[in-house]
């Protein structure tokens, strides 16, 4: 079994619902985003960049690529970052010492360091915290906790608290454009295998040799329609 995600850039409308539902379900602290959507080259969401004399506004959602050859894992001195049996790259918060070598090693800049930012918002009953409200352990390793320890690195887990129980990541259930497909890429009958079958796809930064398991189906809009 190898979990993977396909992102159909033709369907992606750039709305960032994936980023927000990810943050809401995974208790991401203020200022931390495991999942982001870029308009490459543009200064701001909703603005365009001139490509070949014409404005464009391509949308590229980016989160952990769950690389088969994960550079973050190779540089982790404590084994906090590891790859589980499904191919998901995870961080054991209890083993992470906050050295941030992984942040330097990751070419996708998707790992984020928790500089003791506030977790929630001050509100009606003191502090309100969002997110899946229980710890989640895998083989004893703390791979999710709603209250983040200070000084550790965090990132997308493919929503391990859901996928380990047969669910799919929040960004995939929550994409209003149905642009994100998740599943076992080794199973030819899986939704992701079926979706990608016969379709052109690419991975980010193939030259890095990281072998990501997030596949992008490029937009063909404007090319001979």
């Amino acid at each position: 079994m190898r979990y993977a995600m396909a992102i159909d850039l033709d369907r992606c409308i750039g709305c960032r619902t994936c980023a927000v539902i990810c943050k809401d379900h995974n208790a991401e602290p203020r200022g931390i985003w495991w999942n982001r959507v870029f308009s490459p080259g543009a200064p701001e969401y909703g603005t365009s960049v001139i490509v070949d004399g014409m404005p464009r506004m391509e949308f590229v959602p980016i989160s952990c690529q769950h690389c088969e050859n994960a550079p973050c894992q190779q540089v982790c001195p404590t084994g906090a970052t590891y790859t589980d049996d499904t191919g998901t790259v995870l961080v054991d918060y209890e083993k992470c010492i906050g050295c941030r070598y992984c942040i330097t090693a990751c070419p996708y800049e998707v790992r984020q360091f928790n500089w003791s930012k506030p977790d929630g918002v001050e509100g009606v009953d003191g502090e309100y915290r969002w997110g899946y409200p229980e710890d989640y352990r895998q083989d004893g390793r703390l791979v999710y906790t709603p209250v983040r320890p200070e000084g550790v690195v965090e990132k997308c887990t493919f929503c391990v608290q859901y996928t380990n129980q047969g669910g799919i990541p929040a960004c995939c259930t929550g994409c209003p454009a149905n642009a994100r497909i998740f599943g076992d890429i080794e199973d030819p009958e899986s939704e992701i295998s079926q979706y990608m079958s016969g379709r052109q796809w690419l991975v980010l930064g193939e030259s890095f040799g990281t072998k990501p398991k997030v596949y992008y189906l490029p937009s063909t809009r404007g090319e001979g329609e």
Binding site: I21, V124, W130, N164, N178, S197, L202
Partner: protein
């Protein structure tokens, strides 16, 4: 990965392949072990409906843990699979606001000494509100109390309570559809209806979609994918927009045009369709007023009752029998009660008609007048006006006339101009000439606001003793006009405002009128119900805390999909917030105890049960649209509205086009007799012969440029002083001013209001990206961080509206805007249907530097 090093080139440099990845290793899912070492979180998922007036009405579910909502997901339970998942970034993070710092949890009353709002108990707050309102009612009459309750579809039980309250007190319901600028006036002018639209799942049935003034990918976010599906099905989507938008990116073709020139394009297309014989002649004859004769001397339609040898056919008083000519050139009376069977008439006629009084008048058919009006409207003229290339205009004219079904989406950015109705009339002309009206996937739609009443709500809205009034808010700002309908504004003016679920002190503070009226005392009383502590709450005399849509029972609908849904009480509202049904009943009886018999008898603890009773009553008495649905069914998930036409999807005007029923279709909750006079012929009317239309030479769809009749007429120097159009567009991060304080949304935009400009406009003013700048005119100002967008058409300053004042140094972006009233909007008055519409975009400004480099840096890098 930052945007700095993720260039488009490097992103696309990845190798493409055509088979699925071959991956390494295998492994069984350790589910049992995972479960053993983890506990399932205590709590449950509960379904509700997110409905903050964005038109989404999205079924969402929240996870309730220890009395609080911790996570939100889409419910994804719509029987029509492509509607799943429905819900956007704002809706799935509203939990951060339910318990956040702006949550209103206690009744507030203004301390007259300090001017500050202070917490108090319910009885004190209700008594204070009642005393103030009663004083205004006694002094100026009850109709001087204006009521804002957002719009209809977002709630019928709790929001229905404030309508019921207003309808018993004799207060004036402020037509929020037009106050919000959402009323597309071309609809009543052309079709006699409030507006009509395809539900979004019909978009996938369109083969050719033209979008004007609507950034669907942002403002109809949960529906937007149906345009993708249309494309995947082989359809073409063409987006007409001055600016390159997300919708432009996702369309097959983007057509750039000069702002507010859509009508010029549409008229040129109409001319090509007519000149090249591409029009649906029988459609024009059977369903439009184009065969009807007009007296060329007076500009008035000729009535059969006045023509020698003819007489009016039996019909209700709200219709008129007009005249067309048969193939032999003889006039005949056209039945206003029955459409169709007119294939034999002459569409294009010039001649004379003898009247009963013995005189003869020169007459032309509407089609002839239309052709003559289009003589100069060549593709070259349109190209000069719009900046669209001639060949593009000609190609699209042929495509949209020949590819069917063809659907036009005409959005708020198009309607919200002084001459917005002329654009809509011109575009509707294309939809009718091509015979697309009444077809699945065809026609013209407007998606602005969750205004639409989709069943009969009278059983709850109308109390036993009715005292019902309405008003147009714009007259509060402009004063009475010579051309207005007298019943459109109370004789003693707007003296008190009761606001439910609205933030007018930001959203409707046009020309700074509301704030200055409150400060001067002209607006003597402001009472607000809300679940957030908005600018309006802070400026109120009394503020009453209400539940959010996760904390009460409410019934919702939307124009965008066919599902009737409930908001359900998942959790108790925090603090002392109480359901509106209880608040409204208590406010009524605090004003006058004799109103107790106009309400069910209940105390606060029974409010949820009474809301359930009202739900059942509404369903039972709502007419065929909903009376097949049960409360139990809706508690489980969405229930589908009934529609008259065969097939799964509702088709606007199906009965008119396929059964010969005259226009208009009914605009609920109004009876047909109040809207039918808008199209007395019973047909789609492109020709309007009311005096005001004749005076302004707007009998037929035409093009008039921006600002000439407004800003430049009021101040000729505005042409040079304020050379930019101030466009206050909707943001993906807000629904009007709701969600402005959502911490996730704030992070995504660095907590900073922004002003967007074309780089050339900025350079001309010595401005650079990252500067803190100010848009201003003679009426007001607002500030923002400057963002340069090369995809913008020059000549605009765009501000993403909805920011509360506290995020803007106290400024109000609407202070720049003035509610210009177009006299054609005043020919009739029917609140929410034919009424002066707010032209937000008809606003000239300039931009200047406040602080070099003063804008904050983007937080997302």
């Amino acid at each position: 990965m930052s945007e700095r090093n993720l260039s488009r080139r490097s992103f696309l440099a990845g190798t493409a392949a055509t088979t699925a990845a071959a991956c390494l290793g295998t492994g069984a899912l350790p589910a049992a072990k995972a479960l053993a070492e983890n506990v399932d979180p205590a709590g449950e998922w509960v379904r509700t409906t997110c409905s903050p007036n964005c038109t989404g009405a999205c079924g969402l579910k929240g996870f309730v843990h220890e009395g609080q909502i911790k996570m939100i997901s889409q419910a994804s339970d719509y029987p029509f699979e492509q509607y799943n998942p429905r819900g956007c970034l704002k809706g799935v993070s509203v939990n951060t606001m339910l318990y956040g710092p702006h949550r209103l949890t206690k009744p507030l009353v203004k301390n007259e000494d300090t001017g500050k709002m202070e917490e108090t108990d319910w009885d004190t707050a209700l008594t204070a509100a009642a005393d103030r309102l009663k004083a205004v009612m006694d002094t100026y009459g009850p109709e001087s109390v204006g009521v804002i309750w957002q719009v209809q579809g977002t709630g019928h039980i709790q929001k229905g309570s404030i309508i019921r309250l207003s309808n018993m007190m004799g207060w004036s319901a402020i037509g929020c559809y037009e106050m919000n600028g959402d009323l597309p006036m071309f609809w009543p002018e052309t079709f006699g209806v409030q507006s009509e639209e395809l539900e979004s799942y019909c978009w996938e049935d369109s083969k050719y979609t033209m979008i004007f003034g609507s950034n669907v990918m942002v403002t109809r976010l949960p529906d937007a994918h149906f345009l993708n599906i249309s494309r995947e099905n082989g359809g073409k989507v063409v987006n007409f927009d001055p600016n390159y938008s997300a919708t432009s990116e996702k369309s097959t073709e983007w057509v750039r045009l000069k702002p507010d020139t859509d009508a010029a394009f549409a008229l040129a297309v109409a001319k090509i369709i007519i000149d090249d014989g591409l029009y649906d002649e029988n459609f024009c004859k059977n369903f439009t007023d184009l065969p009807l004769l007009v007296d060329t001397a007076t500009g008035k339609r000729i009535e059969a009752a006045n023509v020698a040898g003819l007489s009016a056919l039996p019909s209700p008083a709200y219709r008129t029998t007009y005249v067309a000519v048969n193939a032999a050139g003889a006039p005949f009376a056209v039945n206003p009660e029955r459409l169709g069977g007119m294939e034999g008439c002459t569409l294009e006629y010039t001649g004379s008609v003898r009247l009963k009084d013995g005189t003869t008048v020169n007459a032309k058919s509407g089609f002839r007048l239309l052709r003559e009006s289009l003589v100069g409207k060549t593709a070259q003229w349109a190209s000069d006006t719009t900046s669209i290339p001639v060949e593009t205009i000609e190609r699209i004219a042929h495509e949209c006339a020949t590819i069917k079904p063809m659907h036009i989406i005409f959005g708020g950015a198009g309607t919200q101009w002084y001459h917005g109705d002329l654009k809509g009339r011109s575009l509707a002309l294309i939809a009718a000439l091509t015979g697309n009206i009444g077809q699945l996937g065809g026609g013209i739609s407007t998606y602005v606001g969750q205004y639409k009443t989709r069943f009969i709500p009278a059983s709850w809205f109308n109390p036993p003793r009715m005292n019902k009034h309405s008003m147009s808010f714009q007259y509060a700002v402009t004063g009475r006009t010579p051309t207005m309908q007298q019943n459109a504004f109370p004789p003693n003016g707007l003296k008190a405002l009761v606001v439910g679920w609205g933030n007018p002190m930001d959203q409707h503070n046009v020309a700074n009128w509301l704030r200055s009226a409150k400060e001067s005392g002209e607006l003597e009383c402001l009472v607000t119900l809300d679940f957030q502590r908005t600018t309006t709450v802070d400026m109120s005399d009394v503020a009453l805390p209400a539940p959010s849509w996760y904390e009460k029972l409410e019934l919702t609908t939307t124009p965008l999909h066919p599902w009737v849904q409930l908001q359900q009480q998942m959790v108790d509202p925090p603090g002392e917030a109480r359901p509106e049904i209880w608040i409204c009943k208590e406010l009524a009886t605090h004003i006058d105890p004799s109103y107790a018999d106009q309400w069910p008898v209940f105390d606060e603890s029974q409010a949820e049960q009474v809301a359930d009773d009202v739900l059942r009553m509404l369903l039972q008495n709502g007419g065929p649209y909903v009376n097949q649905l049960t409360a139990e069914q809706l508690r489980e998930g969405p229930g589908k509205l009934w529609h008259a036409n065969p097939g799964e999807k509702r088709i606007p005007f199906w009965s008119q086009i396929h059964e010969g029923t005259p226009f208009p279709s009914q605009s609920l909750p109004n009876a047909i007799d109040v809207t039918a006079p808008f199209v007395r012929s019973g047909r789609i009317q492109f020709y309007r012969d009311e005096d005001e239309f004749l005076r302004l030479e707007e009998q037929l769809p035409c093009y008039k440029p921006a600002f000439e009749d407004t800003e430049y007429a009021a101040d000729p120097e505005a042409r040079t002083k304020y050379p930019l159009a101030f466009i206050t567009r909707n943001s993906t991060y807000r629904v009007h001013s709701t969600y402005v304080n959502n911490p996730f949304m704030l992070e995504l935009q660095n907590s900073m209001p922004k002003i967007f400009m074309n780089p050339d406009d900025a350079k001309e003013r010595g401005l650079e990206s990252g500067d803190l700048v100010e848009a201003y005119n003679g009426r007001g100002k607002c500030q923002g961080g400057l963002v340069l967008d090369p995809g913008m058409y020059p000549g605009q300053a765009i501000f993403d509206q909805g920011w509360w004042s506290e995020y803007m140094d106290g400024d109000s972006y609407n202070s720049l805007i003035y509610p210009w009233i177009n006299p054609t909007n005043e020919v009739y008055y029917l609140s929410g249907v034919w009424s002066p519409n707010m032209a937000w975009n008809e606003c000239a400004c300039n931009v200047r530097l406040l602080q070099k480099g003063g804008a904050r840096k983007e937080v997302m890098q």
